[in-house]
Symmetry: C2
Subunit: 222 residues, 2 copies
Amino acid sequence: MAKTTKTPHRTPLNRESVLRAAVALADETGIESLSMRRLGQELGVVPMALYKHVASKEDLLDGMVDIVFGEIEDPSTATDWKGAMRRRATSARAVLRRHRWAIGLMESRTNPGPANLRHHEAVMRCLREAGFPFELAVHAYSMQDSYIYGFALQEKTLPFETPDEHAELVQEKAERVGDLDEYPYLVELATHLVQARYDYAAEFEWGLDLVLEALERARQTT
Amino acid sequence: MAKTTKTPHRTPLNRESVLRAAVALADETGIESLSMRRLGQELGVVPMALYKHVASKEDLLDGMVDIVFGEIEDPSTATDWKGAMRRRATSARAVLRRHRWAIGLMESRTNPGPANLRHHEAVMRCLREAGFPFELAVHAYSMQDSYIYGFALQEKTLPFETPDEHAELVQEKAERVGDLDEYPYLVELATHLVQARYDYAAEFEWGLDLVLEALERARQTT
DNA sequence: ACCTGAACACCGTTCAAGT
DNA sequence: ACCTGAACACCGTTCAAGT
């Protein structure tokens, strides 16, 4: 391992570059191994140097989450609200798949950044302009975000990426648990998921359509 | 502060008592301040003593999450599947409010404990016995859990507990951001939430009914 | 203006030892 | 069988100092 030469950065650090590096590092190595020290090292800088650009680790995490929000596609203000909402939901799911650590992080991040505000502003605007009465728009907003984040959370939690991996895991679990007879319905479920080559994207869209159609019905009966 | 007397525990530790103490500590002081050292202190024991009952901190967290799952009411196998599902959803939300740290924790906990398995077995069973064809039961299961966990996640994230707190926060945010003019719809939203004394429980149930009714329609058209 | 280095009060976990 | 104590390799962050 060559000792890193001590060339000073031509482009000195700034908040943006620190945040982007942190996002990249979390994407690659997971959030649990993102430390100020490790990030400093990645940027060729002593840990304390980061504190000129970021107030604390909390601040760093807030910034990272807002970068993720910035990647979600805003709904267009089209005539077709369902299409617009479907697109932004699909985009949100894709973004949360790309940055799996982010969904778990929103947990504690209590103050929304500008990208977050901008995005949710656009969502409310889309619904209101599509003719949702105010209170129904609030319900629709809550409903959709619950579904999107909840799905992303489950997708992240489910311990397999491909059907083959899943088959392995079922096998393994069966060996450890032993008495799978207690869980006939779960066994049926697991078996099916393997055989049907379970498709997260299709599952997401099935639920999304259910939600959007139910909201459309609610809108019409108002 | 009196030095704790060195009386040995009459009832020595075991896995159960360690897990329960950890849950209680997380409830009181938050998950971020739950450390092996702090937990040991709480139990009047040197940190390393815990490792006789728990393989690692990861194992401790897995166990804690499963305790939380154990508190969720299983659906009864009644004729009324909607009622049964509504009850268990309401119970799940209540439990996740009681243990706010748990929802953020499911993030990384990838191997489900017995209480988790038992609960989800009961959910699948309820749906199947209510006449949901297999694939629709899978969709219904995914849909409901996405909604429940997503709602809990948002509820946890939203930074206010009571409408009054919320009013304060809007005010504060307005001062910091300055240019709230950029977000007219969010301002409208925030204002309304304060005036309407936003009720999480009512919001949750509105969405839950939307989901359950949409699922019932899907079931009938099969 | 930006970066450094030493120090402080923490972590989870190992290992060998005590009772 | 259960608990202890010292040690190791980490954390985030402070402060005073360097360029």
